[in-house]
Symmetry: C2
Subunit: 359 residues, 2 copies
């Protein structure tokens, strides 16, 4: 590896002049500039960041701290989004997965300090509340996909599950559905409860009677290894007396179960039952036939936006705390799994009937 001195010697200038050229500083004669560039080419010189860092204290490196990576393969898009921002802005990224282990997390913070990282993205792989204090973070930190209950001064970037679910529920009602099944995600999840709350609020706002709503929990247990009974739940719902005309699912994976459950019973989607999901996990939502109407979790954008916010903090111009925090929209993705109900079927009066097609 040639050093700046080698270049200087070959170009016949001092090392400082090479430094000027490399860093595009002013006050270099064009002729000198060319000679130096040539020498750099010839030698294949690449500046050494470590040496630069020793002096200048700017590492141009961001750290990403990640918890249960295995929960779902999709949330990794957060990391991708962050990487995209980083590389577009001359930053490099170091990722450490803690798998939820406290010691590993401690070690990660230390690693970050050793590398003189400028700031870290603390990302959780599902939307949740955490207990972090700003004083626990030795480096500038932005929370992604989570918020701290313990310390409001930590900036966070989270998805707006509430509004996503709200839009979905309104859409379903606008399509004329009145008998609704709702399969809840694991209640342990913060995002899950937000979605359910939105559903309840909208349904109440529209004056839908409780009797025409069926709510069941589809998953339960420890996050990452929950038991999924949504297949069975779907079938029970569809076999009850006045079955719902639409089943709203806590997320797309539950929606997949709902599809399988409904199809196995011989129900057609959306002719016999409409189904909506949440998250827009593409390998599910786009693969389903008919494709699933859902709300898109903006994972990639979460990562990208959070990096911007972190950069704001680092460069000191950043607002902090709830002022700087952002909730990002989960836009509805309308596909073919929701059928508009004809007027004749919209009344609640036929609540005893079964909208299923007969073949």
């Amino acid at each position: 590896m040639p050093s700046i001195k080698d270049v200087a010697r070959v170009a016949g200038v001092s090392d400082k002049t090479v430094s000027r050229v490399v860093n595009r500083e002013p006050n270099v004669k064009p002729e000198t500039f060319r000679r130096v560039e040539q020498a750099i080419q010839d030698l294949g010189y690449v500046p050494n960041r470590a040496a630069r860092l020793v002096r200048s204290r700017k590492s141009q490196v961001l750290g990403i701290l990640t918890d249960l990576v295995s929960v779902t393969p999709y949330s990794n898009d957060i990391v991708r989004g962050a990487q995209a921002w980083a590389h577009a802005n001359g930053y490099t990224v170091i990722v450490v997965n803690t798998n939820g282990d406290d010691d590993t997390e401690k070690a990660a913070w230390r690693t970050f300090q050793e590398h003189s990282i400028e700031g870290v993205l603390y990302v959780t792989m599902y939307h949740r509340l955490i207990n972090l204090q700003a004083s626990d973070c030795p480096l500038p930190t932005v929370l992604v996909n989570c918020r701290s209950t313990a310390d409001q001064s930590l900036i966070s970037v989270t998805p707006d599950d509430y509004r996503g679910s709200q839009a979905l529920t309104r859409h379903v009602l606008e399509q004329g559905h009145r008998r609704i099944g709702y399969i809840r995600l694991n209640p342990v999840l913060f995002g899950a409860e937000e979605r359910y709350r939105a559903f309840q609020d909208v349904v109440r706002e529209w004056g839908i009677p409780d009797a025409s709503i069926t709510t069941k929990i589809g998953m339960s247990g420890v996050v990452g290894q929950e038991i999924d009974h949504s297949y069975q739940v779907t079938q029970n719902m569809l076999q009850q007396d006045a079955p719902p005309t639409v089943i709203m699912c806590g997320n797309d994976e539950i929606a997949l179960q709902a599809y399988l459950g409904a199809l196995t019973l011989g129900h057609r989607i959306p002719d016999d039952v409409s189904i909506v999901g949440h998250d827009d996990f593409k390998t599910v939502s786009k693969a389903l036939k008919p494709a699933l109407t859902t709300a898109a979790l903006p994972y990639y954008d979460l990562g990208f936006r959070a990096s911007e916010a972190l950069y704001g903090v680092i460069s000191g111009e950043g607002a902090t705390g709830s002022a700087g925090s952002v909730k990002m929209d989960c836009p509805m993705v309308r596909r073919e799994s929701v059928r508009p109900l004809p007027d004749s079927q919209r009344s609640l009066a036929d609540a005893g009937g079964n909208a299923r097609h007969k073949d």
Copy 2:
């Protein structure tokens, strides 16, 4: 950030002594050791890797170069595996996604050099053949999930698609299936062709007549944005004169389509048709009802193993080229989507019949 000198001053020793304590070198009086440790604690001193690196040339950092991340969310497990190895061995990892762009890849190599990275994992997100030359790699490199046709001297770690598919095909035949549908993955994919080749070889070896095999292509087009017609293909297969008793799918996503296609037609799985996949994408294979019998792509292990191999190269003890290259097994995961055929249905004579249950 306190430096080694600050610690030295507080502890009342020279900086070299602090260095000795930090690096656990011998010849430090226990008493001194304690005093220094105390000062480190008090000041929150963390050694600066950059400074260390300027002298010692060992960055303890690995680079990961990654192409089309978006192809599937699952292959990211390769990166996880590599990270796991790294953090278990005191290494840190820098990941750069190129999205298949050549300029980005060039820039990535440069970034790696700037960071004095010790070696890089060149990982592709689907199993394929590439054109890389060892001379294109300014740093020690190991190929993951791909092999170079241009240069055999590059070590590679790849999944053994052939053997995975072989095991699956044998299993299906052992369960008595003779009329077989095979839905091929995009033929552009190297792994896809390996799987198909294994299927053909086994079927020939067992003397299954061509007439009882139906082969169709389920996906085609540019990788990452292919058109998927496997849903329709499945339905066509099931509606033909002597429908297959089992459908073997190029991967789990096709298997999902096969489930949907079959269920929609009113077929039961595995009573009416058995289905097998490939890859073991858990959000599909475990979610399906009944759960899918498939072969597991060892993504995580690929990343882990490749890191070991790379470490071998770096520390100079490594075999190179095809000698050091590894093909990793894709073990069959036996679940409930394959039904053993009763002896009465195993003969090829009933090739005109339809094994479907009548309700």
